[in-house]
C-alpha cells in the first residue's frame, strides 16, 4: 500500500471520507492520527 505520508492533506481527507472515518481538518497536529486510522482501515 502506497505510503500515506506522501499524500496531500486533501488526498488524506478524501481517503478518510472514502473509508467513512470521521475526522476534522488535516493539520500538522492531527495528520499522524488520521494516517494511523487510515492504515488500520486499509489493512
Amino acid at each position: 500500500m502506497s505510503s500515506l505520508s506522501g499524500k496531500s492533506d486533501k488526498e488524506i481527507s478524501q481517503l478518510l471520507d472514502e473509508y467513512g472515518i470521521k475526522h476534522g481538518p488535516i493539520v500538522e497536529s492531527t495528520r499522524k492520527l488520521y494516517e494511523k486510522k487510515l492504515n488500520e482501515a486499509m489493512t
Binding site: D9, S13, H23, P25, I26
Partner: protein
C-alpha cells in the same frame, strides 16, 4: 476592531460558522470549510495549537485560504 468582531466576541462562539470571524468573508470562508474548518472554534483550535503565535497563525491563514494581510489582521 470591526463591528463584526465586536458582535463575535459579544457572546460565546458556540457552533458559529467560520464566516462569523472578522476578516473571513464568503470566499475565504468557503476555502476554510473545504479544508474542514467549518466552525469558528476549529480555527480557534488551530490558533491555540500554534501556541497563539500570531506570525505562525497569519502564515497558516494565508496558506490555507489565501487571506491577505488585512484579512489576517482582522
Amino acid at each position: 476592531t470591526s463591528q463584526k468582531h465586536k458582535d463575535f466576541v459579544a457572546e460565546p462562539m458556540g457552533e458559529k460558522s467560520v464566516m462569523a470571524l472578522a476578516g473571513i468573508g464568503e470566499v475565504l470562508g468557503r476555502r476554510l470549510e473545504e479544508k474542514g474548518f467549518e466552525r469558528a472554534y476549529v480555527v480557534l483550535g488551530q490558533f491555540l495549537v500554534l501556541r497563539k503565535d500570531e506570525e505562525l497563525f497569519r502564515e497558516w491563514l494565508k496558506d490555507t485560504c489565501g487571506a491577505n494581510i488585512k484579512q489576517q489582521g482582522d
